[in-house]
Amino acid sequence: MLKMEAIGINLGLPPGWEAEVDSGGGAAEEGATTVRTPRVHLGNFALPPNRGDFGSGAVERMVSGDVLICLLEESPEVIGTGLYQAGSMPTISAKDFAPEGMQRPIRGQSGAQKFFHLNGRAFALYIVMGSHISRASFIPEINEVLNAIELT
């Protein structure tokens, strides 16, 4: 399992997965999408260099078998309010995915959204499945990736 760490976020990546942790607010190269808030992107496919917070630029290239996980940090002020009630890393199931769960609907794909806080940090979790029909077979691997995330 490949390990990486940045801005207090530790990741463990299964074979074939890759990731980028961006602290947000940094200068972006020309043509790149500026990262406004700290974010983590994990995928079991080749992540393109320029992506929006919710994976635009990557989701359009996703095919059956591809999974994209976006972890977006929010202000700690939201902890305990509205959607940010859960105090642990979410566990995902197949029923969490729906085509309507996509930030921008793409036929055949589906998305899941969860919100949580951990160690004083609030996050929005957004997962895109390249193929809604075959989503069930990827749930164990997604949860393995999520369980390997440590927030300090």
Binding site: L2, E20, G26, G31, P49, R107
Partner: protein, 280 residues
């Protein structure tokens, strides 16, 4: 009784001869390995001393294992599945050549300052371009990648510069082509034992091995030899290995690739048409 004693003496003499023979054989092997530059001392690493590279030779790339040439660091067992998965207990180094030809995933810093992990394992191939921001030959590659280069199907390009202690992050950010994944990682240069820049490593993602490597002076030369190496590895455009075809392996990937080549991306409404009626 006398017969038994003589028999025992004979057996002891045979065993002694056998042990002496084994020790001599072992000594010959150790001497031969030493002469070949392989150090078996576990306290000294790396076990394999890299072959010296003659940098005075004209830079070139040779991804064809059939034609190794001077100036190219040879990779062994390319395009084969023969790499043994040898594991040792903690504290005991693996056999000297256990990692030769094995590809390592890349971890480094992105031009925007983020941390980036890149997997070179998967269904496709990865061409890793080890570049610096200062060398004149590298400048040609930075420009070519910024203008856009045509890569073979199922192949992606990753640029790797040295880390922040050896390269200016601002220079890397300024030169990084917008559409190409670029990271800074001195660790990657060490992992792949890069002798010179520019230097290219082609990773066969299916096998997780290095399919070829070498230096080159222009993208045209890299591209030409890349196509040949990929064809040998079964990555050529439209080429499907017979075994994969018969077993239906990677069928979904092939269909997706053919649709992408035809300009049909996920969500394209043409994918959801009702099939045309034969009667109409």
């Amino acid at each position: 009784m006398t017969v038994v004693v003589w028999l025992l003496v004979a057996v002891v003499a045979m065993l002694t001869t056998l042990v002496v023979g084994l020790l001599r054989s072992h000594a010959v092997i150790v001497r031969a390995l030493h002469d070949a530059g392989i150090n078996l001392d576990p306290d000294k690493s790396p076990g394999v001393q890299a072959a010296p590279v003659d940098l005075t030779e004209k830079p070139f790339i040779n991804l064809d294992r059939q034609q190794p040439s001077a100036g190219m660091r040879p990779t062994t067992e390319v395009f084969t599945d023969s790499h043994p998965d040898i594991k040792t207990i903690d504290g005991v180094p693996g056999p000297a050549n256990a990692t030769r030809g094995r590809a390592s995933d890349l971890v480094g810093t992105s031009p925007t300052g983020g941390s980036r992990a890149i997997s070179v394992h998967g269904n496709g191939a990865t061409l890793i371009a080890f570049l610096t921001t200062g060398c004149a030959t590298c400048a040609g590659f930075w420009n070519a990648f910024t203008d856009g280069v045509k890569l073979p199907a199922n192949t992606r390009l990753v640029i790797v510069t040295k880390g922040g202690n050896e390269e200016s992050p601002a220079d890397v950010a300024a030169m990084a082509p917008p559409g190409v994944v670029t990271i800074s990682s001195s660790q990657a240069w060490d992992d792949y034992q890069i002798p010179v820049a520019p230097y290219f490593v082609l990773v066969d993602g299916k096998r997780g091995t290095i399919a070829g490597e070498g230096a080159a002076s222009s993208w045209g030369l890299v591209s030409e030899l890349l196509e040949r190496a990929l064809a040998d590895a079964g990555y050529s455009e439209g080429q499907v290995r017979r075994r994969d075809l018969l077993r239906g392996r990677n069928r979904a990937d092939r269909v997706d690739q053919e649709l992408l080549d035809a300009g049909i991306t996920p969500g394209d409404p043409r994918l959801y048409h009702e099939p045309a009626s034969l009667d109409s």
